[in-house]
């Protein structure tokens, strides 16, 4: 970045590749393996017929401006530094040491010197008929504007082939103290200059006869010179003078167009004289300094400059242009038409010399008078504190002691200017009395002052009360009227806040989090009044529920019977078993016995003997023999042993023989059950380690 308040000038910044189609070939040389070649098509694009508006930073003179530009070259500032060199313009070969030739040129033509296409035309028609740009498929827009000029104008006004690199350069500026500072601009800018000083020409004041400046309208066009560099003049062709001609236009086609009521008359060289005398604004004797102009149309040897000057005796744009502008619906189109007003001439039917067409990427018009540059404009600013009706200006004071001397004086309104509406009542403090309808419906006036005042104000100290509704900020002034300034500020602030749902939700969420943390503090303090207790209120640990839960547990632990209630009975009653019918029937049915037969035998031998002699009903009717039974038993013992060995607690200390039941297992030491016996047996079996 360049130093504060400085800038650096560079001759050119050439991009590594120009716009066009490229093919990228990639190979991977690998020993032993063949890797296929990678081919990619690459299109490098760049504006060609239309300059995107975001690439244009500024123009000088400003579009539609009026002012003294006669000492300054018009220019256009482009945001991409490489833009002027992104295409190959062609033309005669340049020397080995010559800088690269840009494809853009800024050409300034006066009203009447050329014609701008009234409507966008297909891009193929934007170049001189018969010519064609290389790679027609490379078009950034299907339509574009074009400029039609005669060979005379090209030779007299257009830059020479050798001038082109000289008229384009790159600037690197420091943008930190400008409004561009917070954007994504880097301060690198390409500047395209014109080669023509926009001059205003003198004309005779009808009242005094003194020469006064007559405004001249100019059109600045950023042209694409691709393929047509050859038609530009070269340095060798041109003669030079130390002064220029004070003429508005080197060639005025409007005059020819006006006289060409019928193109036949022009072509045949008749009929022009009468039309020229009929020219409505012709003002003979417009000053000796005015030089002759070129005769453009066949035989139309009229002093074209006279008419051109006279046409501008009224500094307003032509009524025709205004009419076009009002008819157009689109504002952009309206502005374009207005700007192109003086250049909308159809030249081809009556101009006999060769004409050329150039694509126009951007164009704007301005009016050259002899006053109104930056310096005079800023010095003529009305300076004052907000709330002053008439500020001061730095200019010649017509009522001062020396009307020629520039001094600072009160900027009183021009008595000849149309009267402005009366300003509303204004207080010294900057308060303005604005009409107000009170809540009861009465029409009244109320004082209002925005955030800007002519006097410094004291800010309320930090502890001052906070307004919750706007009515709290309404005040009554000593004159009995209401001052609604702060109330209005409150309301617009509330509305602006509500217009951003993200802000509203952030605000509500933050306050509830703050409140949650504060409540956790307070509740914790209340719960543990005795012991000072600092809860963890960081974002992670500010959970009030957890905090309260812990406190509750502590308190409950101290007096469980008060908090928790009566204890649980040690044992619950068992579930009742439902029996249907007499018990002996149920048992007999369950065991598959014949109850009647059993009773019969019990009657003779007794129940025990009867049961002993009754075979148990076996499913399938097979009996297990003793050998199978012994095998099953052995298997079962093994399995029990295996499970018990796995489940047995390992003896950690060989000294203690009895570690008791597994630690942590809730159990009551009582009579040993079968499992305990088993474990004891295992313990005994285990060899001492």
């Amino acid at each position: 970045m360049v130093a504060l308040g400085t800038f650096v000038l560079h001759s050119f910044v050439k991009p590594p590749v120009t716009a066009g189609r490229y093919q990228l070939h990639g190979t991977q040389p690998t020993a032993g393996i063949t890797v296929g070649e990678h081919v990619a098509d690459v299109i490098v694009s760049s504006p060609r017929y239309v300059m995107p508006p975001d690439q244009i930073l500024s123009t000088f003179p400003p579009a539609m401006a009026e002012g003294d530009f006669s000492g300054r070259l018009p220019q256009i500032v482009l945001k991409r530094r490489t833009l002027p060199w992104e295409r190959e313009p062609g033309g005669p070969p340049s020397g080995a040491h010559d800088p690269p030739r840009p494809w853009l040129a800024l050409v300034v033509i006066a009203e009447g010197e050329g014609a701008l296409s009234p409507d966008p035309a297909p891009v193929a028609e934007c170049v001189t008929p018969g010519e064609a740009l290389p790679h027609p498929e490379d078009a950034d827009s299907p339509v574009g504007y074009y400029l039609t000029v005669t060979e005379t104008v090209v030779k007299k006004v257009f830059p020479t082939v050798e001038d082109l690199p000289l008229l384009v350069h790159v600037r690197e500026v420091d943008i930190r103290d400008t409004e561009l500072a917070n954007g994504d601009d880097d301060g690198w800018l390409a500047v395209v200059l014109a080669n023509r000083l926009p001059i205003a020409v003198p004309t005779a004041d009808p009242a005094t006869g003194q020469p006064v400046p007559a405004p001249v309208r100019y059109l600045a066009c950023l042209l694409n010179l691709e393929g047509q560099v050859g038609v530009l003049p070269t340095d060798a062709d041109l003669a030079t003078d130390d002064t220029f001609h004070l003429v508005a236009a080197v060639q005025d086609l409007r005059l020819a167009a006006r006289s060409a009521a019928s193109t036949d008359l022009v072509v045949m060289g008749t009929g022009h004289a009468a039309t020229v005398t009929n020219a409505p604004l012709a003002a003979p004797g417009a000053g000796a300094a005015i030089g002759p102009s070129e005769a453009v149309a066949a035989g139309a040897a009229t002093p074209g400059s006279n008419a051109a000057v006279a046409a501008w005796a009224s500094p307003k744009a032509s009524p025709a242009a205004k009419a076009t502008a009002t008819q157009a619906v689109d504002a952009g189109v309206a502005v374009r038409k207005e700007m192109a007003g003086g250049w909308a001439i159809d030249v081809s039917p009556f101009v006999l010399e060769k004409t050329y067409r150039f694509p126009v990427l951007a164009h704007w018009s301005f009016t050259a008078t002899n006053e109104g540059d930056f310096r005079s404009t800023i010095q003529a600013l009305d300076v004052g504190l907000l709330g002053t009706q008439y500020g001061t200006v730095f200019s010649a004071d017509p009522n001062g002691p020396d009307p020629a001397q520039k001094v600072e004086h009160v900027n009183l309104p021009d008595p000849t200017a149309p009267p402005r509406p009366d300003p509303p009542e204004l207080a010294e403090t900057g308060h303005l009395a604005l009409p107000q309808t009170s809540r009861r419906g009465d029409a009244a006036t109320a004082w209002y002052r925005g955030p800007f005042g002519p006097l410094p104000t004291d800010r309320d100290p930090p502890g001052s009360p906070l307004a919750q509704v706007s009515d709290q900020l309404r005040t009554l002034t000593p004159d009995g009227r209401e001052d609604v300034s702060l109330a209005a500020a409150f309301e617009i602030g509330r509305l602006l806040g509500l217009s951003q749902p993200a802000l509203v939700s952030a605000l509500v969420q933050w306050r509830s989090e703050q409140f949650g943390a504060a409540r956790a503090h307070t509740v914790a303090g209340v719960l543990t009044q005795a012991s000072p207790f600092t809860p963890d209120v960081t974002r992670q640990g500010r959970d009030l529920g957890r905090l309260v839960g812990m406190q509750l547990m502590n308190l409950a632990g101290q007096a469980p019977e008060a908090v928790v209630g009566p204890g649980r009975p040690i044992a619950d009653p068992g579930r009742p078993i439902g029996l249907e019918g007499p018990l002996d029937q149920v048992v007999a049915a369950g065991l598959g016995l014949d109850l009647g037969q059993l009773r019969e035998q019990a009657g003779s031998r007794g129940m025990v003997a009867a049961l002993a002699s009754t075979d148990v009903a076996v499913a399938g009717g097979q009996r297990i023999d003793q050998a199978t039974l012994a095998g099953l038993r052995a298997t079962l013992d093994d399995e029990v042993n295996r499970v018990a060995t796995a489940a047995r607690p390992r003896r950690t200390d060989p000294g203690t023989s009895d570690a008791g039941p597994a630690a942590g297992t809730p159990g009551t030491p009582g009579t040993p059950d079968a499992l305990d016996e088993l474990l004891d047996a295992l313990r005994r079996e285990e060899p001492e380690r």
């Binding site: 308040g5 800038f7 000038l9 050439k14 930073l57 003179p61 000492g71 300054r72 040491h97 800088p99 690269p100 007299k156 690199p165 000289l166 008229l167 350069h169 790159v170 500026v173 409004e179 561009l180 500072a181 917070n182 030079t240 003078d241 130390d242 002064t243 220029f244 080197v250 300094a289 930056f374 310096r375 800023i378 300076v383 004052g384 504190l385 907000l386 709330g387 402005r420 955030p451 800007f452 002519p454 104000t457 309320d460 906070l466 919750q468 300034s485 109330a487 500020a489 409150f490 617009i492 602006l496 806040g497 952030a506 605000l507 306050r511 409140f515 504060a518 409540r519 209120v537 974002r539």
Partner: protein
Amino acid sequence: MSMTSFDAKVALDVQLRAAKVVVTDFTETDPDDGDHIVPGVIRRALAGLRLLSGVPFSYLVPDSSLLPPESVRFFYLDRNWTDALVQGVLSIGTFTSAERIQLEALREIIRAEVDEAERTIRQPGGEERLSGPGGAISGFVMRSKLVSGWPGLHVRAYRTDRQQDATIIPESDPDRLKVLRMERLAPAVLLVLFDGVPAVVHVEEPRQGIQFGALRPDAEPFSAARLLPLRDASTGADLPGQHVPVPFRRDSAGVIHMRELRDRIAGAPGTNVGGNTGMSVDANEFALEMLRFPFRQVFGDPANEPSQPLDDVFRPKVSFAMLEARFRAVIQP
């Protein structure tokens, strides 16, 4: 205290007491911004509002007679007005007494932290980050064709008048005031807010829009000749008394004969032009010669006369050394 006495009255009391508490260790940490109690999104939105972003223009300038065409109006910012604006935002979503009491408790922290955030809204690259308590804010509104015609005006404000200084001091210098906001509100209306009350304000022609041209004799408004004062292209210094008449193309209106002008510049002694490319004068050297000073308008007390002419303050320079090698690489492969 027993749990049985924890009834609704106590609960309400706890809520109200909690509302008055600000938990100061409940902070948001931003690596770029430091620790703050007020979350960054709220702080920045409120600071933006303090600098009046988004406020309708009719609230700022309620009547067009306060800002006539082609005028500049300086002002002091009414802090109470912007505080009321912020209070309006804060009032959103406060329905209960507890919420309002809580807002009362938070207001001083919000005020202090938003004061600090005001300076972080506009941070041009390369400038130091400034912080401190909120102070007076002043500024100006300019309604002029200057704003639309010369986009990117340079605006600088100084606490003390340092006209003698040719170098431009950074915003962190105690003599210079930080620009808090600079924005075009409309194509021709520029709003600038300064962090303090300046003694002088400089408004300068934009540098990327600096123009090129030649001088017309002041006394002759219709002179058809132009003079070009020359500079030494190696240092940028003026060559006093040296100038060449600007050549024009014969029979054309105001079109400069560039070739002849180039030759005249190259032929004049002491200009030190040419030699980097094949041309007698390079594009940037030509630009340097044709450069006209950006004009700097100083607004301030008329008694503070500049001790040096402003032309001395601005001295253009072209540094070739760093670019020469690159040029050669490009044009002589």
